[in-house]
Assembly symmetry: C2
Homo-oligomer: 438 residues x 2
């Protein structure tokens, strides 16, 4: 039989044990933090009916949705009726609409789960990757926005990340600012798209892009004046006083700043837009100073859930840039993390001793250690078993050949030092307790 | 805008917080058990290239594979090139072939993950459901089979299930038995299919089915004689002495029985077949006595991995019937499990007190409790907030209105008893520690 290509599909990864162990440790930390903040876990199916997903992510996003063929007799049609989830927000909106009255109000949930996008695979860009979202549904109170910020930054701290800052703005303030510059109607959206690129292309780049999008020179000059000021935030604050929307937006920003107090290192970022068009109120991003990279972001989106039901439901939330965070942690932990093996290996010196090894492993496990009897095939050489133990990160090998069985003794060997000691079988547990301490 | 149907796709489920919490608790127990047995976690992508999956599950299985449309310009072709995984075993075989030399030998892995099958949805039958597999790759030693049995039954015990028994057979012994009955060649497979149904249709049913499949009356009479004997296992043992394959198979069974010793409640089950055609050696199933239902099963499959590489690699493993087990646990836990909410809710009595509530929640969290500030919108009525607290399973509400803030005090209210006490702010932590104990 011809053999089959054994690689995972393009853009996907096999996560071997050490990867899974490292990732699961981070996920457990995040879950514990969100639990501690009163958020509760939700799981939704990997796929949704196609109509649930299409039309939510813009034209470019829609193109990246993985579609699933109809089954049975309909398969030949080549039509799709299901699709893999593209993010965790649209399924949440569906759940909020479906179970509204069964859920507490507000409904505070988190979800850590894979999503799928048919993007062109590249370095650090996968077709299957994990997202980590935390949202509060059904509250228009800015306390919910503040609680999101505290929970997200607590999670980052619990993961051991530091040196990050939160940039905070309000979509309403940003609309007020654009208004104050005299940009109106359809041009407002165009201006926001350009402003969103400030980090990447700088003020000159944004000015050029605004001009290219037909924004007049007076508006561009006013923007340049504000952002070149000694204190751009203060300059923008002054300008926002002229716009009713701007005043209301600033009040939102200041309220969230007041609510989080000292708990979060946060700054007003007057032109932060956050790309997604569904944001309506406060928006934020968390920037890792050392990397100049966004590691979390979010905001308020009061109209998204209305797509699944007659009335709007206010909502706010945030998302950790999980894959990027995992890379940061991997770099930091690389030195300290060992392989995901058991603490103890009970060697099997001869076929007659195998049942004894299985029983001994049970006894060591009952004493609270992780342990396996050597289960490999072939010839039962000690050197091969010790090599396997080393490969797994085992700390102590327990050796019991015919001599030890006859004498009711057992030999313990510390893998790191090579130290070896033969003790009475009854002294096995205390010996292991000492050797495996610390 | 017309609203969109908010139900999950047919055959899939939304898992609300209490469901997720219960399931995650069980998963954590299983992971801890398999870790303690030296198995390590593996994750593979949700989808595989189509050719990896097709041809592995028989014609019926192939029909149930969810296929994913090609993307971009190829979408219009209606062709599929990817498919959602149908089980965890074929992806494992691919991983074993792909990473062979990078993995320890033997490679001991577990995986708890969803799989997808386009089955007709029904009561307890889903299109997305979790499997839990534990396997040892690269060992022909029966110690690996024994270690699987101990790990699987330890996991069931750790979950709190008891009253189960393990039925053990060997595919080799079963082939020997069929040979001893004089059934040979193509009829061997037919006979195994019929024998596999003994539990469901009884001896008379099997006899009728064997006759229908063209098996001769002498073989059927001999089978009837063995299974009607006072000790059917002893009768079959006697008959197997006449077949070389039978003797070798019996030796396998007895070796595994010897290796597990008293650690597992196991019985030789002379006609246990286990449906899947890829089994080659010992096979087992774990039957829950009270339910007369199989809750775990597995066996040795020495030829499966050879589909992905030039040479065969021996393998053995087991699978927990996770969804069935979760239903059993749900029934048992229903009384004791509370909703997945925080221990403490800090109420917000007025807008001026919201920042204080956020800060107070941070302080209570620092003392080790799970807590949230009330984040709901609308009017800040205490009754509404206490109702929300009750709905979330909160144990203590912390109330701090203008009077308490002026007097540097705080009021704690136990939700279960209604007991309420106003204490100095400095006494908040000790008060909560006492109230939340036990």
């Amino acid at each position: 039989m011809a053999t089959i290509d054994a690689n995972p599909a393009s853009g996907t990864r096999d996560l071997l044990p050490d990867d899974v162990t490292r990732r699961e440790r981070a996920f457990a930390t995040i879950r514990a933090t969100f639990d501690a903040h009163g958020f509760a876990p939700l799981e939704t199916p990997a796929f949704e009916r196609l109509e649930v997903l299409t039309g939510k992510y813009g034209e470019e996003g829609d193109q990246l949705i993985f579609k699933i063929l109809r089954r049975g007799d309909h398969e030949a049609s080549g039509d799709a009726d299901l699709a893999l989830r593209y993010d965790l927000t649209v399924p949440l909106a569906r759940v909020a609409a479906r179970y509204g009255s069964q859920l507490p109000t507000p409904f505070k949930r988190y979800q850590i789960a894979p999503v799928w996008r048919a993007d062109r695979p590249g370095k650090g860009r996968y077709r299957e990757f994990y997202q980590c979202d935390v949202d509060t549904i059904g509250s228009d109170s800015l306390t919910a926005d503040a609680a999101t910020l505290v929970a997200v930054t607590d999670a980052l701290e619990a993961l051991g990340l530091d040196g990050f800052r939160v940039q905070l703005n309000s979509r309403r303030a940003l609309r007020g600012l654009v208004e104050a510059y005299g940009i109106e109607g359809e041009q407002e959206g165009e201006a926001l798209v350009a402003l969103d690129k400030l980090d990447k292309i700088g003020l000159d780049g944004v000015a050029a892009e605004l001009a290219g999008r037909g924004i007049g020179p007076a508006a561009i000059a006013a923007l340049g004046e504000d952002l070149s000021a000694a204190d751009p935030a203060a300059a923008v604050r002054g300008r926002l006083e002229r716009s009713e929307t701007g005043v209301a937006g600033l009040a939102e920003v200041d309220r969230v700043l007041d609510l989080v107090g000292d708990a979060v290192p946060v700054t007003y970022a007057p032109v932060l837009a956050r790309g997604l068009s569904y944001y309506t109120g406060p928006v934020f991003e968390v920037v890792h100073a050392g990397l100049d990279a966004t590691i979390a972001a979010g905001g308020r989106y009061d109209h998204l859930i209305g797509m699944f039901q007659a009335n709007d439901v206010p909502a706010t939330g945030g998302s950790l840039g999980l894959e990027r965070i995992l890379l940061l942690l991997e770099a930091a932990e690389h030195a300290e993390a060992g392989p995901a093996g058991p603490e103890v290996l009970v060697t099997v010196m001869d076929e007659d001793g195998a049942a004894d090894a299985v029983a001994l492993a049970g006894r060591i496990r009952a004493a609270g250690h992780t342990v396996e009897p050597y289960s490999g095939g072939g010839r039962l050489k000690l050197a091969k078993q010790l090599k396997y133990a080393d490969r797994r990160g085992v700390r102590v090998a327990v050796i019991r050949g015919a001599d030890e069985r006859a004498a009711a003794t057992v030999t313990c060997k510390a893998l790191a030092t090579g130290e070896q000691r033969t003790v009475a079988l009854d002294d096995l547990e205390p010996t292991l307790a000492t050797w495996l301490q610390a």
